[in-house]
Structure formats: C-alpha cells, structure tokens
C-alpha cells in the first residue's frame, strides 16, 4: 500500500490549506488562494476529488474482479470512487462528458489491479458544470477517511474549487504506481 505517499500528500494538503487560509485572512483574496491550491494539488499530481456519499442504492465496492468492465462498480480502479461513473454519462473512465470540466482538486485512492498485481494511485476528478448525471452510482471506500483527512475523503463535492461547481459525474485517472512497503 502507499501509506507513506498518502501521508506525504496529506501533509502537503494541510500545508496548502493552511497557507490558503492565511492568504485569505490577509485579504489577498480567495480566488488567488484557491488558484494556489489548485496548482499545488494538480501539479503534485494527486489529490482527490469527489462528492457525496451516494449512500443510496450505490453498490458497495467489494474485491475488484479481473473481468469487470469500466461500466461496472467492480472495475478495479473504482475502489474509492463515490459517485456517478462518467463512462455511463457520455464520457469515459478518464474524460468528462461533453460540456463538463474536470475538477481542479481531487481525492485519491490506492487501488489494486488484479490483472498486473500492482497498486495504483487513482485521482478521482469530479466533472463539473452540468446537472448531476444520475447513472451508474458507485460507492467504493477503500482507504477513504472522514473530512479531517480531506485528500482521501469522498463525501464532499470536489467541484468545490471550480468556477462552475455543479457536480456531474466522476472519472478515475491513474496518476502513479503505489510504493510497495
């Protein structure tokens, strides 16, 4: 697993959050502070995205299945995805549907690929600016933590830092291979 990487991310995330707040308090303005966060998170290649819980009829993520396809909640890279699959909404596993834009900040998961046996860091970007898709609700929570570990929290709208912050659906982008302990 990638606890070391996640811890490093969390530390960076908290530093960014604190820095942003200080800037805000200094009246530099929220937009510039947010811009800073976005750069750090996106530039750092990893932070998480997405929303809510989708408690309802979502399928809880069990062990990923090698033969699961991208439209199935059992597909391995959805292990911490909580939201509507963009691949069911006109986009793909890694691209937003037409008219929707990827979130500037994201949450991350560490998911095991049963085909090659490796663990991957997955950035869950929400796609933003269109009405909620409503199809293929999944609810994976491997490694998910409450909002005091914001970078791995998935019960919040990760479109929150976008100019258009309406949540549409969620993509799963591979951003790295997790270190083995």
């Amino acid at each position: 697993m990638s606890d070391i990487i996640i811890d490093r991310l969390m530390a960076a995330f908290d530093r960014a959050a604190e820095l942003a707040f200080r800037r805000s308090a200094q009246s530099i303005g929220r937009r510039s502070a947010l811009s800073g966060i976005g750069k750090l998170l996106v530039g750092g290649a990893l932070l998480p995205v997405l929303p809510f819980d989708r408690s309802g009829q979502a399928h809880a993520q069990g062990a990923s299945k090698p033969d699961a396809n991208e439209a199935s909640c059992d597909y391995w890279r959805y292990c911490a995805l909580d939201g509507f699959l963009c691949s069911c909404c006109g986009g793909s596993v890694s691209s937003c549907p037409p008219g929707a834009e990827p979130s500037k900040v994201t949450w991350v998961g560490t998911c095991h690929n049963p085909v090659d046996g490796k663990d991957y860091l997955v950035s869950y970007n929400d796609c933003c600016g269109k009405t909620t898709c409503g199809r293929c609700l999944c609810n994976g929570n491997v490694g998910e933590r409450p909002g005091y570990r914001m970078g791995v929290h998935n019960d919040i709208n990760w479109c929150m830092a976008n100019t258009q912050s309406m949540y549409h659906c969620t993509v799963s982008v591979l951003v790295g291979v997790a270190d083995k302990k």
């Binding site: 811890d7 995330f13 707040f21 929220r30 809510f52 909620t132 409450p146 709208n157 309406m166």
Partner: protein, 379 residues
C-alpha cells in the same frame, strides 16, 4: 352505458331536482399546517440523481406518515430548533439552477407552516457535502449556528441568525463541529493528526481562540466517524474498529475520559458502519450501533446486519438485534424506547422499538426518498 347517454340522464336528473344545487356545498381549498404538538422526524435527502433538488421530509413520528417537506437546494444541510419552532437549512443555489453565480444561504423555516420566514446569506465556502449532523450545528444555548466550510481549505463559520453577524474561524486539517454542552461560545473539531481543536469565541463574535488537545485518536489506524453523540456531560465518538471514545469538550482543551471496546472476543470481524452509525440514550447511557460482519478496509459505510445495544455506564453489551440494511440511526428525543433509521437499500425510513432488555425490533416503515442520509427526531 354510453357516456353520452349517461351525461344526458345526469343532466335530466339535475333539472328534475332543483333542490340538489342548493344542497351542494363546494369545497374550499386551503393550506395544511403541522400541529405544534406533533412529534416530528426529519429526513434529509440530497437527491443525488438530481442534486439541485435536495429536500428534507417531515414525518409524523407516531406513524411515519409524510406531513410535508422543506426545500434543501444543492447539498443542503439541516438542523432543527424545536425550542424556537424553526428548522435551519444551509444550502447553495445557482443563478441558472445548475450554473451561474453561486449563492449560499441559511433558510429559516417555520416548523408548522414549513415556509421560509427568513434567509441569511453566508460565505460561499460552505462544505457542499453529504449532510452529516456534525457539519451544521447549534450552540448549546441555541443562539449561534456553526457551519463547516471547505474550499477545500477548512474553516468554520459562526453565525448569529438574529443579528446575522458572522465570524469565520480557520480549522486547517480538521472537520466536524461539536458544540460544547455547557458553554455556548465553545465548539470543537476533529483533526487529521488525531488531536481535537477547541475554539472559544468572544461574545461579540469578533474572534475565536483555538486550543489543541493532545493526540486523542489515530486517524490512520482506527479513524473516528465524524458523527458523534453525547451523554449528559461528555461527547461520545465511535471508531471504525468499534471503540467508543468518551471525551470532555467542555474545557479550553479537549480531554479523553475513557475508551470502550464494544466488540467481544467472539465477534471478530464485526464493525460499525454507515453515515450516522450510532445513537446514544444520554440519560440511560446506552449506545445503539449499526454493525456489519466481515469488516475490511472500505466497509465503514456498509449497511447494517444488526443493531448492538451497549451499556456505556456498565461497559457491557446488552443485546444484539437483527436489523438489515440500515446506514443512519437516531433516537427519539421524546421517547427513549424509539429509534428511527434510514434503509437505503429498500429506500425506506424505519421506526424501531427498544424493549427493557435492550433488544431492538422494527415497528413501522415508509417507502420514501432516493438517497436519504440523515434522520433526526428532535421533538
């Protein structure tokens, strides 16, 4: 009978009975209101498939019949103020429904007419999150409202709904709001490093002083759910692995009182789960906890298989009761033998009763909502 023939006969009959029109009394339409004395259950549903249309359902606690609803906008959160006959809903609206300028407000509803009687503009930093209780709270005297913000930098807004005066307190790396039980100008928050931050606010809402506790929990190895309960003088937190942490949040710094392990040796693999995974009878000091078996990483929001009744005062498990598919649970504030729960699998709200031994059994349900996540029974 042909319809044309029927209408002709009906017309003829009316003509032959001139008194009939005089006897007929047309109905008048009106608006219903909810009796002040009705015990209420509030169910917050963010309506995930169409999130701009969240709502809070208002049910009669006695039979779970639907009595009305409150508009909750996009990712709205609710807290009831039964002492003031108000329900507050903090939410977001966009200028063009799903796009355009974002406006965040607290809507103040009358709890009998269910009409918005006031609206308080707030910062557009409100956490657009699932409606956990700890993200929108009242001070112990009911004078202030506390709102969790996330941009994703986290802070807490303190709002006086009467004067509309507001203060924002930074809370980096922390989440969840736990108002002190006896000090209205104080609240705490859980932090990712395992500490608890406690804020003491000046009466004029000009500033908030923050003091940090020692490490009270391990956010990596055994995180605390952000849903919390309290007894008469302490807060009760629940960990993913089934430990209850009693903590005092009354002083300038939070302190741990005790940690209780609810999982007996013969119940390995069982763990708490859900979004509102437990409720506590503050007077009897009994916790009712949603439990599932075969626990593993990522199962902390799984629906229940059982409800466990745990006696906090005597540190013992009282009863295990079958209770499938529940993710949220609350205790009636007026009848400590009644629980209400959300069953998202069957999309039902359930009423459960507790017997003298602590056993819990279902007594009623209603099919309602789409993705309900928070249930409250405050009066």
């Amino acid at each position: 009978m042909r319809s044309s023939s029927f209408i002709s006969l009906l017309g003829l009959a009316l003509m032959l009975r001139p008194c009939a029109a005089a006897e007929f009394k047309p109905e008048a339409t009106s608006s219903s209101t909810i009796p002040a004395t009705m015990n209420r259950v509030y169910v917050a549903d963010p309506a995930l498939p169409h999130m701009v249309d969240g709502r809070v359902y208002v049910l009669d606690a006695s039979d779970l019949s639907l009595k009305g609803m409150l508009e909750a906008g996009f990712a709205g959160m609710m807290v009831a103020a039964p002492d003031k006959h108000r329900v507050y809903v903090a939410t977001t609206f966009y200028e063009r429904l799903t796009r355009g300028k974002r406006t965040d407000v607290i809507q103040v509803f009358d709890d009998q007419t269910l009409k918005v009687i006031d609206e308080i503009p707030i910062l557009t930093r409100r956490a657009q999150a699932l409606g956990y209780r700890s993200l929108f709270q009242r001070s112990s005297d009911g004078r202030l409202l506390f709102i969790q913000n996330a941009t994703p930098a986290t802070s807490v807004s303190i709002v006086d709904p009467d004067s509309k005066r507001q203060l924002e307190a930074p809370a980096p790396g922390c989440f969840g709001i736990y108002p002190a039980l006896s000090t209205p100008l104080r609240f705490s928050t859980l932090c990712g490093d395992g500490t608890v931050g406690t804020y003491t606010i000046t009466a004029n809402l000009r500033s908030a002083d923050r003091k940090v506790s020692g490490k009270l929990f391990d956010a990596g190895a055994d995180p605390l759910f952000i849903h919390a309960e309290h007894d008469q003088d302490s807060y009760i937190f629940l960990s993913f692995k089934g430990k209850l942490l009693r903590a005092s949040l009354e002083g300038e710094r939070a302190t741990a009182i005790e940690t209780l392990d609810i999982i007996p040796a013969d119940a390995t693999g069982w763990a708490p789960g859900g979004y509102q995974p437990f409720a506590v009878d503050a007077k009897a000091k009994i916790a009712y906890i949603l439990m599932h078996s075969d626990d593993k990483d990522g199962a902390h929001k799984n629906p229940s298989a059982e409800i466990w009744s745990y006696d906090i005062g005597n540190k013992r498990l009282l009863a295990r009761s079958p209770a499938a598919n529940l993710t949220s649970l609350t205790l009636s504030a007026v009848d400590p033998t009644v629980l209400f729960a959300i069953n998202p699998v069957d999309q039902k709200i359930e009423r459960l009763t507790i017997d003298a031994t602590g056993k819990v059994s279902r007594s009623a349900d209603i099919k309602l909502g789409e993705t309900a996540a928070l249930v409250e029974a405050p009066r």
